[in-house]
């Protein structure tokens, strides 16, 4: 039996096609995945992301704990509400999960982790916490709704408390503001402007309805995936996992190497990898021939196998197929993809593919 978010019945009543995802029954789409994708690129859409887990880390040693736990450095977070994207690594440098962590005060940080990895993450968090003075609390009482698109902020702000309205209008990207148990963050997973909003679970249904009344359209996991792919954002479990390091997954930019004396889990392995010229590269691909790029398709340069697609699909904004791939060093600007026994040509590009509604392809 899959778990249900507090919005499960609402999704069903709005025509959501429910599918199992990461242990949860979630809406794949409400009719057309393509229309939902365009809705977010052109106006405003919303996603129930309550399956993801909010974890509060409180205590005098929350900060030193996170500086040891995460590959990025929470010491960069100097102002209240500031957010940081980071990988959490195992001792081998593999990615346990990718997450966002918010600084709320010196004794209080909040992170948001993936749904499918939640149990593993919580066990890992507890295991690493033995020498630190802090409490780790999954906030199962909170729901989370992402409102995304060029008009998302205006529409969402018209439906929140006066305090959040005021502070939310001033909010810079990658910052958050709180009002009681409501938490408004200018973050997202679509490449568009917008908010991710945490709120008490028992208010989620009425807030979802209120957003609908404001003209925000419900969108499912299908559109969420094509939007994040176009935006050049990695998907845990496909583009990186326990076996691959951030350096092999295009996430080198999320590793804080300085200060050199900060020890974090996985650091020594990453440092050795960093100097290894044979380490695989992570690239973007655009299909120039006909077809659709899918996860695990093999790449070739002539007869030589050069790599594999980690996640791919159809990009509705570009009306072409795109993908992320892991390839051998030295792979050039073009390669071939094997689709059902046939070779189809593809071009190597630097993600993101789409930003704020516009193609980044030259």
């Amino acid at each position: 039996m899959e778990k249900q978010t507090v919005l499960y019945e609402t999704h069903k009543s709005m025509g959501g096609k429910m599918v199992p995802f990461g242990g949860w029954d979630m809406p794949l789409h409400y009719g057309s995945q393509l229309e939902e994708h365009h809705q977010v690129r052109r106006d405003a859409g919303m996603f129930d992301v309550s399956h993801m887990t909010v974890v509060d880390l409180k205590g005098p040693q929350a900060k030193p704990y996170l500086r040891y736990l995460l590959a990025n450095d929470v010491d960069k977070l100097k102002t209240v509400g500031k957010a940081l994207y980071s990988c959490m690594l195992n001792e081998q440098g593999g990615v346990v999960d990718d997450l966002i962590v918010y600084y709320l005060n010196d004794d209080w940080f909040r992170m948001v982790v993936n749904a499918g990895t939640t149990e593993k993450d919580l066990a890992w968090l507890e295991k690493q916490a033995t020498d630190f003075d802090l409490t780790i609390t999954p906030r199962r009482d909170l729901a989370m709704i992402a409102v995304q698109g060029p008009n998302a902020r205006t529409k969402a702000l018209s439906r929140v408390s006066e305090k959040l309205q005021k502070a939310g209008a001033e909010l810079k990207p990658f910052n958050a503001v709180m009002d009681g148990d409501w938490f408004l963050a200018r973050t997202g997973y679509t490449g568009e402007d917008g908010f991710e909003i945490m709120l008490p679970g028992d208010q989620a249904e009425s807030f979802w309805q209120s957003l609908t009344d404001a003209g925000v359209v419900p969108c499912g996991l299908g559109a969420r995936d094509t939007l994040r792919l176009e935006a050049g954002m990695n998907l845990y479990g496909a583009d990186m996992d326990d076996e691959t390091s951030p350096l092999e997954s295009g996430l080198g930019w999320t590793i804080a190497w300085e200060p050199e004396d900060r020890d974090f889990i996985g650091r020594s392995v990453l440092q050795a990898q960093r100097k290894d010229p044979e380490k695989q590269r992570f690239i973007g691909l655009v299909l120039t021939g006909r077809g659709v790029l899918r996860n695990h398709l093999k790449l070739f340069d002539g007869d030589e196998p050069v790599g594999e697609i980690t996640s791919g699909g159809f990009a509705p904004t570009l009306e072409r197929s795109i993908a992320f791939a892991r390839v051998k060093p030295g792979t050039g600007e073009a390669c071939e993809v094997e689709i059902r026994g046939k070779r189809v040509s593809a071009q190597v590009v630097k993600p993101p593919f789409v930003r704020h509604g516009k193609s980044q392809l030259s």
């Binding site: 794949l28 789409h29 057309s32 995945q33 393509l34 299908g222 094509t226 006909r290 077809g291 659709v292 899918r294 699909g313 159809f314 509705p316 197929s321 059902r340």
Partner: protein, 131 residues
């Protein structure tokens, strides 16, 4: 009441077939199939002149979600394909039983049609799969 056209025949693998009465048949995928697949973004059709076998895969439809094989319900030779689907695969979503047709086959053996399902039997199959 079902909207499954009575004049068509159906395969268990969710293709439909229209007997043109002149030894040829037109083939597509059913409304139920397109609904399961979701928005289609790519169609790979067989080439004209290809020999197809009953139950053999001969085309591919890809939606935003996944790729899916299309099987020929009958044995014969492909005599025409719906080339407009190359640029507008969504036609199948919009009109699976009409403008979304995929290819036409010259039948080797017209008696093969007798083994296909009629609309009622196909509806029963779909209802069963839903449970």
């Amino acid at each position: 009441m079902s909207d499954t056209p009575k004049e068509l025949r159906y395969a268990k693998s969710h293709e439909w077939l229209r007997d043109e009465g002149d030894g040829t048949a037109t083939i597509g995928i059913s409304e139920h199939a397109q609904e399961l697949l979701g928005d289609l973004v790519f169609v790979d059709l067989p080439e004209v002149g290809t020999k197809v076998e009953a139950g053999g895969d001969c085309a591919v439809v890809e939606s935003v979600k996944a790729a899916s094989d299309v099987y020929s319900p009958v044995t014969g030779e492909v005599i025409e394909v719906n080339e407009s689907l190359d640029d507008a695969p969504e036609t199948i979503n919009e009109d699976a039983f009409g403008n979304g047709w995929m290819f036409k086959v010259k039948l080797d053996d017209a008696t093969e049609l007798d083994s296909l399902l009629d609309a009622d039997a196909y509806d029963a199959l779909v209802a069963e799969e839903d449970h």
